[in-house]
């Protein structure tokens, strides 16, 4: 199985080197590509100096567009499985097998790494957990899919799902929408317990105002998806 690890990166110069080194150490048999989303710090310099395989986006596209670029790369290069691994160090590559194996064995089409199944490791702030739980219930009501960690970007998907996402992927705050979007396309989604860490450096791009907008926007999108028919596969 050819696996590509997509590492979106915007101004993560403090952590990107460690993220890639750790990945190469733990999973040298996986290919990877860092998507440099037009970073304004010295991320590009660090990537070039250390020979890190990367794609430079000419314009900032955000997490949706950045990861989608990775999906396009995966399809163009014939990968069987694509995985998202955040560039801030929150995702631990030691858990890659936990999300890749269910997809590789065909037990599901997309596997989301969830912090909240075993409740170990970094659990995120209280407000964020409330929000995540709300979205999780909403997705369950609108599609029947049960995923606890809806905003987790740590996920693996097979070639069919990856190809679908190259055509249709939410541009801002894509993670919860991607779950219900894939579900309405008839893809099987499962979850695997993983442990995450706090971000290793840099700043989060989410703040309270953005969070409120996030919740409203994503909730409306999820409700709208529930009105579209389900594709049979």
């Amino acid at each position: 199985m050819k696996v590509i690890v997509i590492i979106p990166c915007y101004n993560e110069s403090e952590s990107i080197l460690n993220v890639v080194r750790e990945l190469k150490e733990v999973k040298p048999d996986f290919d990877y590509v860092v998507i440099n989303d037009c970073s304004t710090d010295n991320t590009e310099e660090i990537l070039v100096q250390n020979g890190i395989h990367h794609i430079n986006l000419p314009v900032n596209l955000g997490i949706g567009g950045g990861v989608q670029t990775g999906f396009k790369y995966a399809v163009e290069n014939g990968y069987d499985i694509s995985v998202q691994l955040d560039g801030d160090g929150q995702h631990d590559p030691r858990y890659l097998d936990d999300i890749v194996t269910p997809v590789a064995e065909g037990r599901c089409d997309m596997c989301v790494g969830s912090r909240f199944i075993n409740k170990q490791g970094f659990q995120s702030s209280f407000m964020r957990r409330v929000g995540i739980r709300f979205l999780s219930r909403l997705i369950k009501i609108c599609s029947g899919v049960e995923v606890f960690d809806t905003t987790s970007g740590f996920r693996a998907m097979n070639a069919a799902v990856t190809k679908y996402f190259t055509r249709s992927y939410a541009q801002d705050y894509p993670e919860p929408e991607a779950i219900i979007s894939a579900a309405t396309q008839g893809f099987r989604i499962s979850e695997a317990a993983v442990v995450m860490r706090e971000r290793q450096g840099g700043k989060s791009s989410i703040n309270p105002l953005k969070s409120a907008y996030y919740m409203i926007k994503v909730s409306v999108a999820i409700i709208l998806y529930s009105f579209s028919g389900r594709v049979k596969r």
Binding site: S168, Q171, A221, L224
Partner: protein, 119 residues
């Protein structure tokens, strides 16, 4: 409020939502603008069902005829939307500019590589 007017407004709002939702499903809107139009639709429903809110608001801002107050609000809202859309347009133009330039520079690099590999 006049019953005929109420019925007309309710019908208009229903048609408005039908059109909006169908465009949304076809992906003709970014969700950000869709949200704005959706909330406007909800505000319209509130005004139709509770016209007293409109009467109170128009007295508050000093407009004697409530209908004029509604027009004023819609006009202001339209101006805000226009500002938002022109800002969005400017950002798109800037992205377009950068993309074009990057593409041109990339083309030169590829052409240079091709020429060098022919030697």
């Amino acid at each position: 409020m006049d019953l005929a007017l109420r019925i007309f407004l309710i019908l208009s709002t229903v048609i408005y939502f039908v059109i909006l939702l169908s465009m949304l499903r076809k992906g003709k809107f970014g969700l950000k603008y869709a949200l704005i139009w959706l909330f406007m639709g909800i505000a319209m429903i509130v005004f139709i069902v509770f016209p007293n809110t409109v009467y109170a608001a128009s007295r508050l801002i000093g407009v004697s005829n409530p209908v004029n107050a509604v027009f004023l609000v819609f006009a202001l809202f339209s101006i805000i939307m226009l500002i938002s859309v022109t800002a969005s347009n400017s950002q798109l133009m800037e992205k377009n500019l950068r993309l074009s330039q990057n593409l041109a520079l990339l083309e030169e690099r590829v052409r240079r590589m091709e020429e060098e590999s022919k030697k």
